[in-house]
Structures are given as C-alpha cells and as structure tokens.
C-alpha cells in the first residue's frame, strides 16, 4: 500500500493542497478571533453546529474510557448550538459584558493540523451522522490571553472539527474542544476557542 492510499487521497499534491486549504481556513479563523471580529467568526459555523467543550476528568486508570468526550448527558463547560453561539457574540458587542469590556487581548496559535477525509477516523462524539459528510480535522491550540493590566491566562488543548465544504471554503459543522485542564485555572472562559 502506498502512502497516498493510506492517506486516502489520489496523490500527494492533492493532499498537500487540502492540508493547505484547511490550515489557511483555521488561521483565518484565529485572525478573526484575535481581531475581535466575532460576527464574521460566527459566520464560519454551520447552522446545525454543536460547539462543545466537555469537562476533563481525573479517573482511575481502569475506569478511563477510550473517548475523552462523554456519550450521555453531562454538564459541559460549553455546549452551544448556533443560536447560543450568536447570543454569546451579541453579548460581546453589548457594551455591558464586563468580563470582556475592555476586551481581552488574545493570540490563538493553531498547530499540528491533521486532516482526515470523510469516512475516515472518528474525530469525536460531537460529530454525529448529520455532520459526518465533511473533513475531520484535529488541531492543537494554545490561546494566550492578556487582560487589563497584568492578567494572563494560557489555555492549551485540542480541537476536533468537522469541516463541511462551502464554496471554495468551509463551514464548521461540529467543534469539540478538549481543554487540557481539570479545574479551570482562570476566573472565566469569556473568550472563544
């Protein structure tokens, strides 16, 4: 089996092009967030999106399950549909959301982008059948936040996205955010990931 067959693409050039497009999409998203262009950012998401940040747990090793994300009903740090996401964006712009007014300075660093064509590896439980007709993309992130005078938060984690082709770009059809913290080590999570 050739490398291209394993990667599920016709040839390396096509795989590189796909990788390039996905990366550019994610970089542009980061730029929108860091530039406080939340309306434009929200438009990147499909109407049926689930934007989900489950809890991370410390469990007995033998009671760990393969998936970090729970299957059943469990309180999450964030579990938004598109309407909820838009409400958050409206709150950002309200002029009375004191946690973000003055707004935080953020730097979203996106790395380790791994693209799997549709029908490949499972990307996470945020991606159900309706959203599966897309690319499964995993990426790592570090978000640096500097707020007011000296407040600093650094969040690292993994995003598991389902990207649905839309014109010559994508819409985010599902996003699972695995924040690498058990107790959240900050006073709030008032920025987007």
């Amino acid at each position: 089996m050739t490398l291209d067959q394993i990667a599920g693409v016709r040839d390396t050039t096509e795989a590189m092009l796909l990788q390039y497009r996905v990366e550019q999409f994610l970089y542009r998203e980061a730029q929108l967030l860091d530039g406080w262009l939340w309306d434009e950012w929200a438009e990147l998401f499909a109407e049926d999106v689930r934007y989900w940040m489950p809890l991370r747990k410390n469990r007995l090793r033998r009671q760990r399950t393969a998936d970090e994300a729970p299957q059943g009903i469990e309180i999450a740090l964030i579990d938004d549909d598109h309407t909820a996401l838009r409400t958050r964006v409206d709150q950002m712009k309200s002029g009375q959301h004191w946690a973000e007014d003055p707004p935080s300075r953020c730097r979203h660093l996106v790395t380790n982008v791994r693209v799997t064509p549709a029908g490949g590896e499972r990307a996470g439980d945020g991606a159900d059948g309706a959203r599966s007709a897309g690319l499964r993309v995993r990426s790592n992130f570090i978000v640096y936040r500097n707020r007011l005078e000296t407040e600093v938060d650094i969040w690292a984690g993994e995003r598991q996205d389902v990207l649905r082709p839309a014109g010559d770009s994508f819409r985010i059809a599902a996003r699972t955010i695995l924040l690498d913290q058990n107790v959240v080590l900050s006073k709030n999570l008032s920025v987007f990931f």
Binding site: N58, P70, E74, I75, I78, D79, V184, K187, N188
Partner: protein
C-alpha cells in the same frame, strides 16, 4: 496582631454594616478560619445520587483538607481524610469512581472503603507485626448527616445535628429539593474553576446580594433575563448565618420553551406540594460555603485555597423523575449560563478577581471599611417566610447575619451555640465594651 476577640470584633461591625477587608486577605485570619469555621461547620460533601452504588466514591474538600466520601456496602456513607496515615500522601487521586480499596502510591499502605487499614507492605519483616492496623485507619470526619439527599460532614463531634444547624433555611431548601415526590438528583459532571479572591466574597454574594445583578449581569439580563426591581421579591436573613433572596415569579430565560407542557405540569404539582417557594428564582448560602440558585437548578461549594484564592464547584440538579428531554435541556441551559464560560457567570469572575488583586497589592484599600448598611432596621416577621424578612429583592441583612455568625465562630473556643438572648454573641467571649459594640471598624 493577635487574633483575639477584641481585634476580630473590631474588623466586623455587623450591626452597623462596616467590615474591614482584612478578613478577606490576612493569612492568619485564613488559618484561623480553617480551624474555627471549616473545622466546625456542616460542609456539603455530595448528593446521594452522585454515589449510588456500594464503593462509589467522590473526592472533595472540607476547607483545605482533601476528603473522600464513600458509599458503604450497607448503604451508609463514610467520609475520611484523603491522607495516608504513614506520610500524608493522598490515597486517591481520581475525582470519582468505584473501588474496593484506596492504595497510597508512596509506600503501598492500603485502606478499604470504610477507611480501615487493610494492607501494609512488609508488615511482618519490617514492622515485626507490631503495627496496629486498627489504630491507623484513615482519619474520619467526625459526623456525617444528610438532609433530603444532600450529604454534609462535620469535623467537630460537638456540633449540633445538621437539621438544627440548617434551621430556617430548610424551608427554602425544601422549595427546590422536595418539590416533587421523588426529589432531585445531580447530573453527571462537576464544573470546577478558580478565582483569585477570598471565598467569602462568593458566599456573601449568594447569601443575599441580588443588588449586583442589574449591574454585573447587565449584558445577560439584557438578552434573555428577567427585568426586575427591588420590590419584585424579598430576602431573608437567618440567625444561623444563612440567607436567601428571591423573586416571587419564575421568569423563564427561554420563551420558546421546548418543554412547555412538562414545565407547566411540574410547576403546578410543585406549587401544590410546597407553595410559592417552588417558583422562586433565588440565591442562598448555608453558612459558611454551600450555596445554590433555586430556579437555575444549580448548587455550589466555595472551596478555600488560600486567603486570596478559591475554587468554585458547581453541580446541576434535575428532578429525579424528569424525562430525558428535560434533563438534556437543563444540561444545555446550565452549561450556557453558569460555570466559567456561562454567559451570566463570566461577569462575576471579573468582579471577584479584581477585588482580590486590589486587596493583594493595596494598603490604603485594605484600611477602608466596606459598606454593608443597606436596609438596616427594615426587616420584620413574615407570616409565611421564616427568618428575618426584608420586603425587597435587594438587601444586606443576609450579609450582616453571615458576618455576625462568622465572628461568633472565629472568637469562640467552644462550638458557638446561638444564645437565647438576642444581643449576646454565640460563644459569649466578646468582652464588654469591645469595639464591635461601639462600632469601631477603622
């Protein structure tokens, strides 16, 4: 400065509503709180539904101390320090689960789920079988008790029973844990996050500070919250240091409620069972660090992590007999509004964190007494609502009662029983003519 009754009383003039912020930042006061507040109060450990099966455990804290709460094979609950008797290492680092034994990973001492020491490596050849297993079990929490599924622990064997301790607050707790025949349960997932401020800032907010909501939560109230004024609700302060403030009418955050019919039926049944309290949109604190948001189905513990740091642990409750769709809706709603990313909650962290920062660095700011005089002298008895009732959604009677009780715990060497005579402090150690009576916060 010696932390004697005179000094502590000079910081907390609860009568006039003047409190020195030293109590939120002084490390010595924090250490004394660990002994006298967290060492003697009834502290929330877990809800029954979180540890349903034999050998289920939940790892929590009582004050600064790590504690394991474990369902026993006979259905009872034990709680003990999560600290090995040999060298003080944690015997369990998982936050919850099911196990038959807890093994310390330092030297291998092993305990059963009742806290008994059952395994010691090299007991025969290193200890010559002279080590008493019986005398080296995990340190037990002196008292465990529960109220309608809410399990509390107390390190003080002389503390009064939980039901007495909760006092009038039971009436309000019943409004949301006992409004259906089958009671409530806690949904999976405890949300935990960190605030760089003193734990009392959160406890006092929930005891009765609804006054912050129209300003602090302006953005979320604007979008989907109820508009309200002071006269839309009431508040109560309790001699035991507890308090609650409430809106009379439930105002749903979501107009297009997908559970319309279910909520309607449930609401009617709840009203029949417990009356108006079933509908309260409210906040309360049970002294010292257990709080809740009836109406938002949320309960809280404020775990102290130092004078200027605490963790919020947030639990979401649903009716035990709620259908799947209602459970899911409650989960989504709680995740959206409460917690570190909650559209309501995020603005609280901003206030608490900045106050903590000011107290950490400021000197003049620490000398300025904070003002708690709102509504002083305007409470009365209410025919329906137990406690000192104030006829407004806003009022600081709860805060004054909270700090009165705080002071009593802090200055009393014995468990501070509430005296019959209303003017006397519990523990009765406060000297005559002390600054607190004269009203002398700096």
């Amino acid at each position: 400065m010696a932390l004697d009754a005179e000094y502590l009383s000079s910081l907390v003039n609860w009568k006039e509503g003047l409190i020195s912020p030293e109590i939120f930042i002084d490390p010595e006061i924090y250490r004394l709180e660990q002994e006298r507040i967290f060492g003697r109060s009834w502290l929330f450990l877990a809800h029954d539904s979180m540890i349903p099966k034999p050998n289920d455990f939940f790892a929590t804290y009582m004050g600064g101390d790590p504690v394991l709460v474990v369902r026993q094979p006979d259905g009872g609950v034990e709680a003990f320090l999560n600290v090995c008797r040999h060298r003080g290492m944690k015997v369990c680092r998982a936050e919850s689960g099911n196990t038959r034994t807890f093994m310390c990973t330092y030297h291998g001492w092993t305990y059963d789920t009742a806290g008994g020491l059952v395994g010691v490596p090299n007991l025969d050849d290193a200890y010559y079988n002279e080590l008493s297993l019986k005398d080296n079990g995990l340190v037990k929490v002196a008292q465990i008790d529960s109220y309608k599924g809410l399990i509390f622990g107390n390190f003080d064997p002389s503390a009064p029973p939980l039901a007495d301790y909760l006092g009038d607050l039971k009436y309000y707790i019943d409004g949301w844990v006992d409004h259906t025949e089958n009671g409530i349960e806690v949904l999976p997932g405890v949300v935990k996050w960190t605030i760089n401020a003193n734990w009392k800032l959160a406890a006092e907010q929930f005891v009765g500070d609804t006054y912050h909501a129209p300003t602090s939560h302006a953005s979320s109230l604007l979008m989907f919250g109820p508009a309200f004024a002071g006269k839309d609700g009431g508040h109560v302060a309790m001699r035991e240091g507890h308090g609650e403030s409430f809106l009379f009418e439930r105002l749903t955050r979501f107009e297009d409620d997908p559970l319309g019919r279910y909520n309607e039926t449930r609401s009617r049944a709840a009203r029949e069972r417990v009356g108006d309290r079933a509908e309260f949109v409210a906040n309360f604190t049970a002294f010292p660090a257990f709080s809740g948001l009836p109406g938002s189905a949320n309960i809280r513990v404020w775990h102290p992590k130092g004078p200027n740091k605490f963790e919020i642990w947030s639990f979401t409750v649903v009716d035990k007999d709620a259908p799947e769709a209602a459970r899911r809706a409650q989960q989504v709603s709680a995740s959206f509004t409460e917690g570190p990313a909650g559209v309501v909650e995020t603005d609280d962290g901003e206030n608490w964190g900045l106050i903590g920062h000011i107290l950490e660095h400021g000197h003049q700011a620490r000398k300025m007494a904070w003002n708690y005089e709102m509504g002083r002298g305007h409470t009365r008895e209410h025919e329906e609502f137990p406690g000192e009732y104030g006829d407004s959604f806003f009022g600081e009677d709860g805060q004054r009662a909270f700090y009165r009780r705080w002071l009593e715990f802090m200055i009393s060497k014995t468990w501070p029983t509430i005296p019959e005579e209303p003017g006397k402090p519990g523990g009765a150690e406060l000297p005559e003519g002390s600054p607190s009576r004269a009203g002398g916060v700096r």
